[in-house]
Structures are given as C-alpha cells and as structure tokens.
C-alpha cells in the first residue's frame, strides 16, 4: 500500500513521454526551481523536433530562421557526416535567447532526459538570458526572431532582384568580417521596429529615384584649397568627422563605403546585427553553461529527494550529467580544452561550499561571503553581473585549482619547448587564476583591427590597423583573402598595418594593391 502511494507520486515512469507528462514535469520543475533557487525566467515555448531538424538547426548557427548561404550547407554536410559516422551525438536541446524563450527538444530523448533538458535549458539558460547584464543590455530578446524573419525575407528578395551570385558575394565578404563587426565598447543601437525600418528603406528608395547626376558636376567650394596649410589638423578633423578610429569594420563600411548600393548596405547591417546578437554568448560560455548545469543538478536532486523521480530515471540523469561535465586531463587523448560545463559547475558548487562550510583558506580569500550560508544570493548576483572573465577572476578558489590540478604553460613560437610557468601551489594560484580569466576575455583574444584613417575627398585609401598583442600575427592566406573582401566592399585601395601594441613599432604592412599583382 505504502509502495503504491509512493509510486503515484512520481512525475513519470518509464522512458516514453507525451505532452501531458512533459507539461506536468515542467510545472513541477519550475515550482522547485523558483522555490529552491529563486529563478526568474521568461515564459517558455517548447518545440519538439526530430533529429534531422536538429541537424538543420545546427547548420544555421542554432537559429530557427536563417537566410540561405552556401557556408551553412557546408556546415550541414560536415555535421551530418560526423553524426552518421557516430563520431558525435547530437545535442539534446537547443535554447534560443528570445522572449518567450524557445527550447527545442529532440523527440528521441527519453522522458528522464526531457526532464533534465527542461531543467537545464528552460530554467537554467532561460534565467541566465533574462538576468545577465550582457544579455539585458546588448541583445533584444523580444525582437530577434522578428528581425531574423525580416532578414531572411529581405535577402531572398534581394536574390530575386539582383541575382544569387551578387548577394552571395556580399554575404561572403560580410561573413569574413563578422568578428570585426561588433561594437565592443559602446552599446549598439536598439533594433528599431519593423515600421521604422520600413520608413527608412522607403526614404532610401526615394533618394535613389530622385538622385540627380547634375549636382555632381557643380564646382566644389573654394575653401578646399587652403587644406595644405595645416595638414595634421585637417586629418584630425577628418577622423573626428568620421568617428575614427572605428572598431566595427562592418558598421564603418555600411555607413561610409561609397560604392555600395542600399540593398548591399542593408545586408551588411543584417550580418552585423546577427554578429552582435551572438557577442554576449561568446563572452559567457562558462557562466551560461555552468548556470544551466548547476540548476539542473540542484533541481533534479531535489526532485529525487522528494520522491518525484524514480531511482532508474535518476541513474539515467546522473549518467548523462556526468558525461556532460567530464573533464579529461591535458594528456588524455580525449582532451580538447577546458570543458565550460565542468568549469562552470565546479566553480558554482565551490561557491556553495565556501558559503556553507568554509575552510580557513576560504575565509582568507573570500572574506565577503565565506561562511555566510547564503549561497543563493551570491550565485544570483554572479549570474546577473558577471561574464566569464570577471567571474573567474573573482571566484576561482585555490581549492578548485588544487582539485583540478591546473597548471600554466608558456608557449613562445620561437622556442621548441613549452615551459611550465606555475602550478597549483601558493605562489601559482593568482597567476593561474588571472591567466585563465584572460583566456576567456574576448577583448584580448579577438584580433583587434580598426579603421584608422581614410581620405574621402582624395585617394580614398582605407587604412586599417592591427594591434599586435604578444607578437601574435595573422595567418597570411586567410588575411589576404579577407583583405580582398574588404576591398570589394570598399572599392578603393585598402591597407592593413600591423602595429605592436606595446612598442608601437610597425611589424608588417599589406595592401590590396600588392594582392592584385
């Protein structure tokens, strides 16, 4: 009798699922998560898809709608091959930062997995998207889907009007500059509503129609002649007028290039907006996955303790959980870098430990919260206000460094050996912590290339500058091909100068003129 009662309390039994059990499981999981972790989430929209549709979603960088481009076809074939060969499983879910938050579930998942995925994506990721300051400030969760819909439609209309090849050329060039197509320091303008954009386009079309070539032949104003006098002043003024230096190459080309037609500018804008949308995600990999993993681990265990999940299902959940957070050592053949799931979860559990049962060392390192017992507030605060780099800098503890046996390896290209710089000892903790934080700082890892000067009234020579940090230069072939793309968008000569960030010495210079030869 007792046994019967406890069984009926289970959320589900067996591996089959249906929409009723999914919905019931979601409600219970949401209640537990809100009660135990005080999560705050967007409403959820769950979509069930098949494995083929999952492959489709993979190829279009995880977005439900995307314009067409050959590179997505290439990625699709690549993923399909890996999947068919059994080299790689598919993700169990994809979650999209939008309002409502969209979660894709694979139909092949068992019910236990669906529950795990619900806790992981629909609550963990969802909370992070809604609360982290980067996402709040830099992306528009409620506008992204309608924007993608517009982008897809716009690009296919362009293809009809101007031909697939012409559109592909622009997209190729824009994709090559995607990494240099984000605002890093100032907040991008909010996505304007569909109506405003429509008005803007109409105005552009009107300007196109009413353009009168005669105006071009009017004599220039006379004050251009005294330019020679104070050249330096003029350059400074010119730079100021164009808002130089400019870190966002796509933005600069879109606004300033003299040869692009309005539809080409709009395509550059679309690529730029998408790049910007993904920028916070790239800065919060560890935190985002860590948050989701921490949430699913806590919620699932809590459900198990309350007798809502059977032992069999819990074993399956734990097996999947440990696969996800598996971190092989550096000398293991399976090693492929630090697993963000493992690092994120490890650090968050460590925070929980420090808050509840601190050692003397923890009290030393984290006097603010060691032993305070209130780990929920600390985690909620970290999830809201940090990105990977600052999170690691702030919270990576000596205990975790020892547990992971982290060590620091210096690698200089001109030497034939690596040397071990620090290990997990008293002298190494801080260096390891700051080096690891540095590794997640996108600002220092991304190639820093900026537009520094262009004379629109003269040669129209576009000068780009690459700040070379730590002597890390660019791959020649790829760099040349990209410069060709920039030149295609700019129309006139383009040159790239490599300048050492510390000394200011010029290391190399490439120009599109040399490439043409």
């Amino acid at each position: 009798m007792q046994r019967h009662a406890s069984r009926s309390n289970l959320l589900f039994s067996g591996s089959d699922w249906n929409f009723g059990t999914l919905s019931h499981a979601y409600d219970v999981i949401e209640a537990v998560a809100k009660e135990e972790l005080r999560l705050d989430i967007y409403p959820v929209q769950m979509e069930v898809i098949s494995s083929e549709q999952m492959l489709d979603a993979y190829s279009s960088i995880g977005m439900p709608l995307m314009y067409r481009h050959w590179s997505f076809g290439k990625h699709f074939l690549h993923h399909e091959l890996l999947y068919r060969k059994g080299g790689r499983g598919l993700a169990y879910e994809i979650v999209i930062n939008s309002d409502p938050c969209i979660v894709y579930l694979m139909e092949e998942n068992t019910m236990a997995l669906q529950a795990l995925v619900t806790a992981h994506a629909a609550l963990g990721h969802n909370h992070f998207f809604k609360n982290n300051h980067l996402f709040r400030q830099w992306t528009d969760a409620d506008a992204i889907l309608s924007y993608l819909d517009f982008a897809k439609g716009y690009i296919s209309r362009c293809e009809e009007k101007h031909g697939v090849a012409a559109v592909e050329a622009i997209l190729d060039a824009a994709h090559a500059l995607m990494d240099q197509g984000v605002f890093r320091y100032r907040r991008p303008p909010r996505l304007s509503s569909e109506k405003q954009r429509e008005g803007l386009r109409e105005r552009l079309e009107y300007e196109e129609r009413s353009y009168n070539d005669l105006w071009r032949t009017l004599p220039r104003q006379a004050d251009g002649s005294k330019a020679t006098a104070e050249n330096a002043d003029l350059i400074a003024e010119r730079k100021k007028a164009l808002n130089l230096p400019e870190e966002n190459l796509l933005y600069f080309l879109e606004k300033t290039s003299l040869i692009l037609e309005p539809w080409q500018r709009e395509i550059l804008r679309i690529v730029r907006v998408i790049a910007q949308y993904f920028y916070p995600q790239r800065q919060t990999q560890v935190m985002n996955e860590g948050c989701a993993t921490f949430v699913h681990y806590t919620v699932m265990n809590s459900l198990f303790d309350r007798g809502r999940i059977g032992e069999g299902a819990m074993l399956e959940i734990l097996r999947n959980h440990s696969n996800v957070v598996f971190q092989p050592g550096f000398d293991d053949p399976r090693f492929s870098g630090i697993n963000p799931y493992a690092l994120g979860l490890g650090m968050m559990q460590d925070i929980q430990r420090i808050a509840t049962e601190p050692t003397a060392e923890d009290r030393d390192w984290f006097p603010e919260f060691a032993g305070s017992g209130d780990w929920r507030t600390i985690l909620l605060d970290a999830w809201a206000n940090h990105r990977d780099e600052s999170f690691i800098r702030q919270f990576l503890s000596p205990a975790l460094i020892r547990k992971w046996r982290l060590f620091l390896l210096s690698d200089a290209a001109n030497e034939s050996f690596y040397s071990v710089a620090s290990i997990h000892n008293e002298r190494g903790y801080r260096r390891i912590r700051s080096a690891l934080a540095q590794r997640y700082d996108i600002g220092t890892n991304n190639t820093d290339i900026q537009v520094v000067d262009v004379d629109l009234l003269g040669q129209r020579h576009l000068r780009l500058q690459h700040k070379v940090r730590d002597g890390i230069t660019l791959e020649n072939g790829s760099c040349d091909a990209t410069l060709r793309h920039v030149q295609a968008l700019w129309g006139y000569e383009v040159s790239l100068q490599g300048v050492d960030a510390q000394t200011g010495a010029t290391l190399y210079e490439r120009s599109s003129r040399q490439l043409a030869d």
Partner: protein
C-alpha cells in the same frame, strides 16, 4: 505551463537550399572528382551514390585569424601530475605549424560527403550536352506497376475486399452462433401473441421468453456483425513493367593507336549506353570484347587498362561477338545492344568482311548497333561531317543506309557522343521480344 509546439511534422530538409548552394560553389571540384571516379570505376557503378572529397582549402571561409605559429601564449591546462615550475617539455611536431599545446588546435582535413544519384548524374551529363528530356528519362528509376497478389490482413481502407471480408464475417457468425434477426423477431412475435391472450394465462412463459430475448440481444451485441479480424485487403505487389534482359557488347580496338584520351571518350560512350539500358531493362549484362588482329572476351579492368600490340582486324571482334551470342545470349531471350569504339584503322580488305558479317547476321540479331570513331580534335575540323573517311567508316555508312537500327558518328569531344544515341532516345520504347 509552457506552450508546446510539435514541429516534427514540419517539412524537413530546411537546409536543402544551402546544400545546393554549396554544391554549386564547389561544382568544378566536384565534377573533377565524379569524373575521376567514373573513369576509374566500373561502368555499372556510374549509376549510384558517390562519396566525394573536397579539399578543405577550396571551401574555407577567410577571416582575420591569428596564426598558430606566432607570438607568445599562455595555456591553462588541467590534470598536472608531475610538473613543477620551470619544467620544460618539447613541443610535438618540432617547429612546424602545430605551435600550440596538445589538443588545442583543430585540424582541418579534406571534406568528404556523399552525393546522391541525381547529383552524380547531373555532373556526369554536364558536358555531354544531352537534351533535357533525355537527362530526365535517364534519371528516372525503373517504373513498376502494382499487380494483384492475394489478400492481406492490413492495408488502406480503399483496398478492402468486401466479398472476402463478408465471407469471413459470415463464417465467424455461424461458428460463434450469433443469433439471427429472424430468431429475435420470432420470439418478439410469440411474446406479443402471449401478451395479447391475457396477462395471467402464461406469465411464466412470457418471463422465460423475455430472459431468452435478453440473452439473444446481449449475444448479438457481443458478437459483432463485422469484426476487425474478418477484414481482408487486396494485396498488391509492385511488378516491374514487362521487361526482358539486355546484353550490351562493348567492342573496342585496343591497338597501340588508342591512347588514354581515346579510351576515356570510349568509356563515357559505354557508360551512357549502359545508363540507357539499365533504365529500360531489369537485367543488363555487359560483355567486353577487345581486339587487335585477334579478338577476345575480357573483364572490365583488362578492357580499359591493358594495351596489346598488333594490327587491327575489326571482323575478328564481330566474329567473337557472334560466338558469344550463340553460346550465351540467344537473341530470342535477350535484347542485344552493341557499342563499338575504334579509331577507324582497319585492314582494307577486312572492311568488306565486316560489312558482310553485319548484313548477313548481326544486324538482324541486335536491337541497336552504335559505332563511334574517335578522332583527333584537329581531324574533326578536316573531316567535319563529310562522308569521306577510313575504309571502315565508308563500309559502315552503307550499313547505316540499309539498317535503321544502326547509328554512327565521329567524336573528338565528350559533347559529340550524344548524337549517336539520338535515335535510341527518341524512339518509342521497343517492345521486348519474349
């Protein structure tokens, strides 16, 4: 309570358009790869899926990315076992491009994927300049027609066989003794009669009748008139359209004058004929006969790969073919197709003999005889379409006049191959002989 959307029934292949764009982009490379495979593979294998590989370089997406072999970096790695600060370890792959810690760099291999049959054929057809109609009909898979094949217990409702179903139902009703409507009506009539006579005369009898009526009614409800187990469906088998077997004879001159280019063109010519035959016949055999001044039947590899020295006597090949036909492919059971490729060299007196062989017997036996003479690109300008030519060419011209199922052409490029088949592809499908 979240919103649930079931997307499983949404159209798949959302990225089909992207795939096509990608294939278009690497078309030149793909074409080279497919044609290489057709050149080196078997004739019969041309018609199927092919795995192709594209060098990763050709499809790379450039950007400003850091070179792996420059600068100073620091890596944080887990799992330290024996290192202490200051230890040094040699880099793997000394001094070469792999200038980063183990496992940190992704390698980009050649990119392999599978092309579907349609995509392969598209690429194969590309410079053969086939008319679209022909391309379409070659890509068509063998058609089939459903044919009645007994009954089955499952199927779609439109295929229910009513007569058979009712027969089963009837048998079951008899076996289970389902009460008939007439029995019930009889009892009802009896009951009304008794009640009409007077209420108290036969109360017991009426009660008994009511119980009986109840029992029968219940039994009728329990034993269905038509039960799912009775239902029978007509079963259909997909029967291939009436087809017979075909045999394709590939005759080729392998004397020294046939070089790599000539053999490649000849192979394409054979592949095209084979595609045509395969579409139309269930079973197609291929017989390879090579000849110099003697002829012999060989396997495919020998046919294309080895050369022999010697003069050229075409009639020996025809005689060998006659022998094989007599031995293994009686013309009443087989549709015989002949494809002959040669550079036109022949002993002068032998052409007469070929003419006699063809006229007297071979042309009666075959469905179709196609002859291509492979010539130099420069020669093609000289000869053009004149009737002048080698003695073999002139002899065959007279055959062409007499026999409608004979066709011949000179080819110098792949695009010249199709005309020789034109008649084959425009004719209504020939009725196979049985």
């Amino acid at each position: 309570m979240p919103i649930f959307i079931d997307r499983r029934l949404n159209p798949k292949d959302k990225s089909l358009g992207n795939r096509q764009r990608f294939l278009h982009r690497v078309r030149a490379e793909l074409k080279r790869s497919v044609q290489e495979q057709i050149r080196s593979g078997k004739i019969a294998d041309a018609d199927g899926e092919h795995a192709v590989s594209i060098p990763a370089k050709g499809t790379s997406e450039p950007n400003f990315r850091a070179a792996g072999d420059s600068g100073r970096r620091q890596h944080v790695l887990p799992g330290n076992k024996q290192f202490s600060p200051g230890d040094k370890m040699p880099k793997p792959g000394q001094g070469s491009g792999a200038g980063s810690a183990p496992g940190l760099q992704e390698s980009e291999d050649d990119f392999r994927f599978v092309l579907s049959r349609e995509e392969v054929l598209d690429l194969f057809f590309e410079d053969l300049e086939l008319p679209d109609m022909v391309k379409l009909s070659l890509k068509e898979i063998l058609s089939s027609k459903p044919r009645r094949a007994g009954f089955s217990t499952s199927g779609s409702p439109t295929n229910i066989n009513v007569a058979r179903t009712m027969r089963n139902s009837h048998g079951r009703r008899i076996a289970l003794q389902r009460p008939k409507r007439t029995e019930i009506e009889a009892i009802l009539a009896e009951l009304t009669r008794i009640e009409a006579e007077g209420p108290d005369t036969a109360r017991d009898k009426a009660a008994a009748l009511r119980v009986e009526l109840d029992r029968l009614e219940r039994r009728r409800r329990v034993i269905a008139f038509i039960d799912p187990v009775d239902i029978r469906f007509n079963r259909f088998d997909a029967q291939p359209l009436p087809n017979a077997n075909a045999v394709m004879f590939c005759l080729m001159d392998v004397s020294g004058s046939m070089g790599e280019r000539e053999k490649d063109l000849a192979k394409r010519f054979f592949v095209l004929l084979h595609l045509f035959l395969k579409r139309r016949y269930d079973r197609t055999d291929i017989v390879f006969i090579r000849h110099t001044h003697t002829a012999q039947e060989v396997d495919e590899d020998t046919f294309f790969l080895s050369t022999q020295s010697g003069g050229t006597v075409v009639s020996t090949a025809l005689e060998e073919m006659q022998r094989v036909i007599a031995q293994r492919y009686p013309s009443k059971d087989w549709n015989i197709y002949v494809a002959q490729a040669s550079d036109g060299d022949n002993f002068a007196s032998d052409s007469e003999r070929c003419l006699r062989l063809l006229d007297s017997e071979i042309m009666r036996l075959c469905q179709y005889f196609a002859y291509v003479e492979i010539i130099d690109e420069r020669e093609s300008e000289i000869f053009g379409s004149t009737d002048n030519g080698t003695s073999l060419w002139r002899a065959y011209l007279s055959v062409k006049e007499r026999w409608p199922n004979f066709d011949m052409t000179r080819i110098a490029r792949a695009a010249d191959i199709y005309p020789v088949f034109r008649q084959l592809f425009t004719r209504q499908p020939a009725r196979p002989r049985n």
